[in-house]
């Protein structure tokens, strides 16, 4: 006997002055291997074509379908309904700008973050198109790849207590992004230059260590270890400059 799922879905259209934020309830029969992504699509097809939510790849790659599922930011496509109780509450991710219902704009936030952390390889080396590609140590390449796996879903930012309390906090996604360039030997930025980006309370020293980012990341990125590493590295950079002249 299939379960009947009760979905309480946040509804609000900020574009419509008459719209009032409220929870709307949909009842749906559960099917085998059902994910929240499948459930929401069925609600939209069978019950309410006006329901707004984002999705694209349905395989945990694009990061579009992040939302708050029973209190936890996670990907709808990664969340199996069989792991949830009969009653499920769906809210849009906090911190990000609400587009409507469960859909938020993570793009503007991530774009601004990339500008802030200067998310590109900084080098003065001139590119020679004829030269063979420079070799990289395999262990280093793997380390970079491990941090590059971020799909920019925004779950870590929505789950972050500091990000909720202050709008200018960079969040784990940005700090992880910086950590990725720190390990990349092609980026010539010094610790002091990284310090200018993240060595303050909007960056690594604003992190209060609640570790919700680590616990909700759908890609299991090593955020706890990266944040600890950056705090030590930036802390030591500050101490070093205390003992050196400028």
């Amino acid at each position: 006997m299939a379960r009947l799922l009760k979905l309480n879905v946040f509804r609000y259209n900020p574009q419509d002055p008459k719209s009032v934020p409220h929870l709307q309830t949909y009842v749906l029969d559960e099917t085998d291997n059902m994910t929240m992504f499948i459930a929401l699509n069925r609600v939209r097809e069978e019950q309410d074509p006006g329901l707004q939510f984002d999705f694209c790849c349905r395989a945990g790659i694009c990061g579009s379908c992040a939302m708050v599922i029973n209190g936890r930011p996670s990907l709808a496509c990664h969340t199996k309904t069989k792991d949830l109780p009969d009653e499920i509450t769906l809210l849009p991710l906090p911190v990000f700008k609400l587009i409507g219902d469960l859909s938020v704009d993570t793009g503007v936030w991530f774009r601004a973050m990339y500008d802030k952390v200067e998310s590109w390889i900084h080098t003065r080396k001139e590119f020679d198109p004829k030269a063979l590609e420079e070799r990289m140590d395999n262990a280093v390449a793997e380390q970079i790849y491990e941090l590059e796996r971020c799909i920019e879903c925004g779950c870590c930012v929505a789950a972050c207590g500091t990000a909720r309390l202050r709008d200018d906090f960079m969040g784990a996604a940005a700090l992880n992004r910086v950590a990725r360039f720190v390990v990349d030997p092609r980026d010539t930025r010094t610790d002091k230059e990284y310090f200018e980006i993240i060595g303050n309370d909007t960056g690594i020293f604003g992190c209060m260590g609640l570790l919700a980012c680590e616990d909700v990341c759908p890609k299991d990125l090593p955020l706890q270890n990266q944040l600890g590493y950056l705090r030590r590295k930036m802390g030591i950079t500050a101490l070093k400059s205390l003992f050196s002249r400028k």
Binding site: L91, C207, A238
Partner: protein, 216 residues
């Protein structure tokens, strides 16, 4: 001059890094102090003679007279540093509370516990230090008289769990924030945090009971 310029154009500064170091170092020092303090006071379990001998040693070496006020200063200093992260506006407090309730996440709650216990400790810890430091020398009989007075027992029954929660959670959080506790050691560290809390609560409660029944 530079501070006047920085009012209009943000200058790169090492201020936040130094403040974070000082918050961590003052916190770690106070954690170690609180554990030593509890163990030394609990010497009364062995007998009032043991506690008086230890108190006498700190008195003769002037560690109580000078160290006491220094600990008080460190305590206030740590509060001012850590309060930078505490939301004092009602609006932000509401956000923090709603966030913790939404997340059902242990470490997010631990932070709320630390903030609440901090406020209680600020007031009750200050009262405790004032009372003890203005009536030196410390002796088992004086402490017992206070506990047997009635209200002070209630006072310490509140202060003890507040301090032990704040200290054991703080110890764990310093570890994860500075990367001393890595991800794979986190669940073990949480267990250690619980055990430390339990052990010091038991020591504290047994000490209080001993004071209650100490012949003055």
């Amino acid at each position: 001059m530079s501070s006047i310029l920085a009012m209009h154009v943000a200058q790169p500064s090492r201020r936040d890094a130094y403040l974070d170091w000082l918050q961590m170092l003052s916190g770690a020092a106070l954690v170690l102090f609180m554990w030593s303090h509890m163990i030394l006071v609990s010497s009364v379990i062995i007998g009032p003679g043991a506690m008086n001998a230890i108190a006498g040693f700190f008195e003769r070496t002037y560690m109580a007279q000078i160290g006491g006020p220094l600990v008080f200063a460190a305590f206030l200093f740590h509060f001012v540093l850590a309060a930078r992260k505490v939301p004092f506006r009602a609006e932000k407090q509401g956000v923090a509370w709603a966030h913790a309730k939404m997340m059902h996440h242990r470490d997010t709650w631990l932070w709320i516990v630390q903030v609440v216990t901090a406020m209680v400790i600020l007031i009750m810890g200050a009262i405790h230090m004032w009372v003890v430091l203005t009536s030196l020398p410390i002796s088992a009989e004086k402490s017992a008289a206070r506990i047997q007075g009635g209200w002070w027992l209630l006072f310490y029954l509140v202060l003890l769990p507040m301090v032990e929660l704040h200290v054991s959670i703080g110890f764990y959080r310093i570890g994860v924030k500075w990367g001393v506790i890595k991800a794979d050691a986190r669940s073990g560290a949480k267990k250690a945090e619980n055990i430390l809390f339990g052990v010091f609560m038991v020591i504290g409660l047994v000490t209080l009971v001993r004071f209650m029944f100490l012949a003055i």
